[in-house]
Symmetry: C2
Subunit: 459 residues, 2 copies
């Protein structure tokens, strides 16, 4: 065992204590009342980077949100420069009643740490930080030049990052990005994601009367906004699970039969996958497998709906309005703004009589991301994962989205190796999120090995 590995092993308890501290800060980027917590998280992170030995870490700002930047550039001109990416904001926690413990009071059970953000992404992003500390403390140097960029708006699609990256191209210039946001296939199988879906988001509001009116004295003679919204939403998919928006599939790049076969060859226990979420049958676009529906096909999902009375008992009203939140997951070469606009246009042609429609397209969104499996960055990562897992990783496509990766590609001209160590059952975005402590430790060994390997890789 090398000295940096020993250092990591000896400090696990402290690292877990630090992760708990980090998880206690409710840095929910979607909710304005938590903006101060997102900043608090950034301040905590600056201190943590300082104590790890990173040079003068600092808070930068993008829009109203903080980013944390740090660097260590003394590996020499011949060594590659690696930008390490992660995010310290987290998803909202509703429905709170389904959490077994309060989401910002981390608790450990069965070698798992539970809290909002444990897996996505605070626990995962702490991994490279403690590895840098171990290398610096034991060897006095890093094998590569390192820049660190941690953002606080990933969960809201990084609306201010395009302008930020464009304004900081020189500072962020690097040979490769390695993302600490990401997951592995299972406890015994690793994977490298060559693709991520993109994303666009819309908010749809159907309005009727100026304010809620009595359903007795007006019911039957006025259009009900909830009925109108239900009608609009039910017209977004056909019975075969296909999205009915004209042009939605037009830019989708078809995969070759070989690519589809490769994807479907990865072992996937659908029955187990269904059992884990408590569903008896899969449902999706006809003609595609579950893996394909998630990995290579675009989707349109309503993530939330509300209108009228939602409290206990009965309130006999026709509501003034009803609202739905929609996101689409996108695949190459769909453009987020073009797809959002196509959905909005389609809805506008179908407004039922007696109500009005307002569609708000959320700015930005995420482009779909693709990185070749034979890219030297992926090859180095594959080598390390094979060492650690004892078998070669799968090359997969993920259904999730990380807006920034396409930005790095477009603005900095570099690809991103997705090198996170969460596992797919860890309830990210859902109640009772957790992170396996064994993966936390394994991730550290992998990150150390990856940095050493990249030092000898021509990128």
């Amino acid at each position: 065992m090398t000295s940096w590995q020993r250092y990591l092993q000896q400090h696990q308890a402290q690292f877990i204590e630090q992760m708990s501290e980090f998880l206690r800060i409710p840095s929910i980027s979607a909710q304005p009342e938590h903006l101060p917590d997102v900043w608090q998280c950034a301040r905590w992170l600056v201190q943590r980077l300082e104590s790890a030995g990173i040079c003068q870490p600092a808070i930068l700002q993008a829009g109203e949100y903080p980013l944390v930047y740090g660097e260590w550039l003394e590996a020499g001109e011949d060594a590659p420069t690696i930008l390490i990416y992660g995010h310290f904001d987290v998803q909202p926690v509703e429905p709170l009643s389904e959490w077994h413990h309060p989401p910002f009071e981390p608790w450990i059970e069965d070698d798992k740490i539970y809290a909002r953000g444990a897996s996505d992404d605070k626990g995962n992003m702490l991994v490279p930080i403690v590895v840098l500390e171990a290398l610096l403390r034991t060897e006095g140097r890093l094998p590569v030049n390192v820049k660190l960029l941690f953002e606080g708006q990933e969960e809201i699609l990084s609306p201010d990052l395009p302008a930020f990256i464009a304004a900081h191209k020189t500072r962020l210039a690097c040979d490769l990005v390695v993302s600490a946001d990401g997951w592995q296939w299972s406890e015994s199988e690793a994977d490298l994601r060559t693709g991520l879906r993109g994303l666009c988001a819309l908010e749809v509001t159907v309005s009727g009367p100026r304010q809620d009116v009595h359903a007795g004295t007006h019911g039957g003679a006025l259009a009900n906004p909830i009925h109108g919204l239900a009608q609009l939403l039910s017209g977004l998919h056909d019975e075969q699970g296909r999205v009915c928006v004209p042009g939605f599939y037009q830019q989708v790049k078809a995969l070759t039969q070989a690519e589809r076969e490769q994807l479907n060859a990865i072992p996937f226990d659908e029955a187990q996958w269904l059992a884990r979420v408590g569903v008896t049958e899969p449902f999706g676009e006809q003609g595609y497998t579950t893996r394909e529906r998630i990995g290579i096909r675009p989707t349109l999902e309503v993530n939330g709906i509300s209108g009228g009375y939602q409290g206990h008992g009965v309130k006999t009203i026709i509501p003034a309005r009803a609202t739905a939140k929609i996101t689409c997951r996108l695949v190459p070469d769909q453009h987020p703004q073009a797809i959002a606009q196509a959905v909005a246009d389609h809805l506008h042609t179908r407004v039922p009589p007696g109500v009005t429609l307002q569609v708000k397209v959320l700015p930005n969104g995420a482009h779909p991301y693709y990185m070749a499996s034979d890219h030297p960055g992926n090859q180095a990562a594959a080598h390390v994962l094979e060492e650690i897992y004892g078998r070669a990783p799968y090359y997969t496509r993920s259904g999730g989205s990380i807006a920034l990766l396409t930005l790095f590609q477009q603005q900095l001209g570099v690809c991103t190796v997705i090198f996170g160590f969460g596992l797919p059952d860890e309830n990210f975005h859902a109640p009772n999120e957790f992170f396996r402590l064994a993966q936390f430790a394994r991730g550290q060994r992998a990150w150390g090995a990856l940095l050493l390997r990249l030092a000898a890789t021509r990128l």
Copy 2:
């Protein structure tokens, strides 16, 4: 001016002060946390009846809710016995942000008193109470025997009243009910309602995954409960605004052409009615006028919907479930439980793949109500209204529901004259509910005259 009229005139300021006190109690029957306030309201009312000279008023209980009963039976055996009905519970106040003042801090502006319950029904039910006080203080007696029954669960469809009325038939025995819950046509036109629609209520829940799941890692491969709910709801009406539930219209008693003509002859300014609610066009069942759609046709309205993320910004989940609250307004001879069951059955035959459906039919409901316009009670009321308004009242059918009226008819064998003095624009069940103080005073003159006239009416 008689002495009781003078007494009323001299005490208006005190009555309004008392109404404000009454309105300050947030007696929302639908919300369990407000149950103590419903009881507080009952205690306030007992004191108010005592000070009006009613004999030993008392709180009775039905289910978890209080009722207030009082009586004055010294008018002699030859005088008729009139049961005065009203309710002191109120509707929920959401959305709170649309109230110009807090809903339980009454404020007076332009001779109108604003607060939840001002018109429906606290202001209205205070009218007969102050009239009884005026008669007792100035004449020492009432012209008729009076029983008073005020309930605290009208807004939740009086679930415990069927059993209560059945158990108290002797105590409640009377010759006629006069309801202080009701409205007049306009400031210059009175009306007597010969019909009220009935009501039944359902709660529909569509479930998918055990808990919310990430829309990236699962989206496209699992049925989304919001999509399923939207599909089910959009299948409840056809494009002509008719309810698609098999059997829904089967028991509807068709009106004669003469009855329809009478209803449509009542002056009704549709443009003004639409402008008041802020809608540009009416919408409803084809082949019927707005008056008919509200008065004589049954409806199915979704009063509330919720599912998934409803907070600020984006949360990319497939929710575990989505729920809708539905009520139907019923006309003779539809049966509330039969119609609710027909809706539930229809939904169960249409469940989309991949989700499950749970339908909760709320117990009881309200039967539609009908009372002949030539009933002596209606005739007495018509005479009084003609005196007060200077013109004969219209005979109308209301779109609203009062569950108890059919119970009085079935259990006590008596009809109910609907004799309230609110007006249709007073935002009952909506934000900024108000009651006109001029109608409060006019209602008092009318109630005094009605009690005197009923003393000489053969019921």
